[in-house]
């Protein structure tokens, strides 16, 4: 099997201290595995609620924090043991776009500053003209023109424009992977398609892969090839996006998809949903399935040990739920009743 672009092996991140009382810890991410192939370029969704661990994951991949255990390998090289030169190269090849198009700009500088910094730090151009050409090319990729925007201050551009410029800035370095952490959630709904469209074009025309981190399943469904759905630090379900969203297996994922408001006033939400009054801080790594309190199908064994990812089909679709503790052929049709039967028989 060819070496993947990015491989995360059993990554776990546990936080201690800070606002937590002494002795208390927060398991933000637990035994997380992910593979992004070298080619073709893909857009992978990491979806989850706040507290699911998705931002922790982004920070781990970008090297802002290190895992408590486990490895992150970029083209076979562990990012923790990279030399300074390798780290710089990694920073170039793995870029980021963040959620808040307001916070990432220094309001004292004109927006061209974000490009100037990059070109200077990575020595991308030998002359002012060459630099300008590079910037124009990057802006063109996101549908903007230098003369219209470069001399402006951040407050003079819309959120959507600022976000597009951030994508242009990332693209400037011709990265292999862009980690986009909720890139459209603070952008007006009618403008989101434009940014998602840019992502698709960068994937198809420039071979850039994306890790699209979001809590919005609708946009993930529209643009992503694969999806990983996190629940309180663990993968609940993963696989081909269309398959997972059209045929969700994990009870949490079923709840999630059912909760997406349907834009049709004639199809209102059916049943009331109950959240336990508080998401308890997870202190231990192995206390069984975290979704137990909310799960309509919970069983005793769910409390004992966190379920592993079971196969749902012969492809990449997997769900971490004991309901599927059977070979795919039997688990697929009928679901609940069939499993109850075979367990009783």
């Amino acid at each position: 099997m060819p070496q993947p672009l990015l491989e995360i092996r059993d990554a776990t991140k546990i936080y201690r201290g800070g606002f937590l009382r002494p002795g208390q810890q927060l398991v933000a991410l637990q035994n997380f595995n992910l593979t992004i192939p070298e080619k073709p370029a893909t857009i992978t969704a990491i979806a989850g609620e706040s507290g699911s661990g998705k931002t922790t994951l982004a920070n781990l991949i970008l090297g802002f924090i290190s895992p408590t255990s486990g490895e992150i390998l970029y083209r076979g090289q562990n990012i923790l043991t990279m030399s300074m030169r390798q780290k710089l190269e990694y920073a170039r090849q793995v870029q980021a776009v963040f959620q808040d198009p307001y916070a990432v700009y220094n309001p004292f500088y004109r927006v061209k500053h974000i490009f100037d910094l990059v070109i200077k730090n990575f020595k991308l151009a030998p002359s002012k003209q060459a630099a300008r050409d590079l910037i124009e090319e990057a802006l063109k990729m996101v549908g903007m023109r230098g003369e219209e925007v470069l001399e402006k201050y951040p407050h003079q551009l819309s959120g959507g424009q600022r976000q597009r410029m951030m994508v242009a800035r990332a693209y400037l370095l011709k990265p292999r992977l862009i980690v986009a952490d909720e890139p459209v959630s603070m952008v007006d709904a009618s403008l989101r398609a434009m940014i998602l469209d840019i992502m698709l074009r960068l994937r198809d025309q420039q071979n850039i892969s994306f890790l699209y981190i979001t809590h919005d399943l609708s946009t993930a469904y529209q643009v992503c090839d694969d999806i990983y759905i996190l629940y309180q630090g663990s993968i609940a379900e993963k696989g081909d996006t269309v398959r997972v969203i059209e045929n969700p297996k994990h009870p949490y994922v079923q709840l999630l998809i059912e909760s997406v408001p349907v834009p049709d006033p004639n199809q209102k939400w059916n049943t009331d949903v109950n959240l336990p009054s508080e998401e308890e801080l997870r202190s231990q790594v192995d206390t069984g399935c975290r979704f137990y309190p909310r799960c309509p199908y919970h069983m005793d064994r769910c409390l004992v040990k966190q379920p592993p990812l079971y196969e749902i089909d012969s492809g990449t679709h997997r769900a971490a739920c004991y309901l599927y503790d059977q070979p795919p052929a039997e688990a697929q049709s009928g679901g609940m009743e069939q499993q109850e039967e075979s367990r009783a028989g």
Binding site: D188, D197, V242, L256, P261
Partner: protein
């Protein structure tokens, strides 16, 4: 400041309380009304999840039994499941207290689930007002049509509808219709005359020269 202090402050600013015990009971009742457990009373905001914080805000808003609540993007920062709970709380509050609400937002899916009537705004102008079912069944203003077309769904995968954003400087709006620079049906008249908001169907108003 703990939750109890935040809610107490909202109440005490407007009403003199007879006793601390009464105030406490009132706050506990408010928390129960938004589905929060008693222990939230003594908690700090950072100890609460996003959804819980939002429900505390709803409790603060209903504390003085208002006749209108203005909810400005109340669920934008929340994930889909929590959003549903907060939305449900708002509906319950409306029902039990008889409070009217103005819900400001851009999630048409959420609007479809929650509201009775929608007013669509563009660049500072109301361009369409109608009962929610009519807006979805027959959007009249081109901007409304664009808005509805750009809603991503989880039911079917379709090509993205890419639209340009605000294209005019808000300090210098164009003469005539505010939407002329983006409108696929723009006519000469649109560039000169501001279309008035007129009732085009029963209870359904739109500001557009097409009609």
């Amino acid at each position: 400041m703990r939750v109890k202090g935040q809610i107490a402050e909202a109440i005490e600013t407007h009403q003199v309380q007879r006793s601390p015990q009464e105030l406490k009971e009132r706050i506990l009742r408010l928390l129960a009304m938004v589905g929060l457990p008693n222990r939230v009373y003594s908690m700090y905001p950072h100890e609460l999840s996003g959804g819980m914080k939002q429900r505390v805000c709803i409790a603060m808003a209903i504390a003085l039994t208002p006749s209108v609540i203005i909810a400005d993007e109340p669920t934008s920062a929340l994930d889909v499941v929590v959003q549903r709970v907060v939305a449900q709380t708002l509906l319950d509050v409306k029902r039990t207290l008889g409070v009217s609400m103005i819900l400001i937002g851009h999630d048409m899916g959420l609007m479809a689930q929650l509201v009775d009537r929608i007013a669509v705004m563009y660049a500072g102008n109301i361009v369409e007002i109608a009962p929610v079912k009519d807006i979805f069944a027959e959007p009249l203003h081109p901007y409304t049509q664009l808005l509805l077309a750009s809603i991503p769904s989880v039911k079917e995968r379709k090509p993205l509808v890419v639209t340009e954003g605000l294209t005019h400087d808000l300090r210098r709006p164009p003469p005539g219709c505010i939407f002329q620079l983006r409108c696929p049906f723009v006519m000469d008249k649109c560039r000169e005359v501001v279309p008035p908001l007129r009732e085009l169907r029963p209870n359904h108003y739109a500001a557009c020269h097409l009609y």
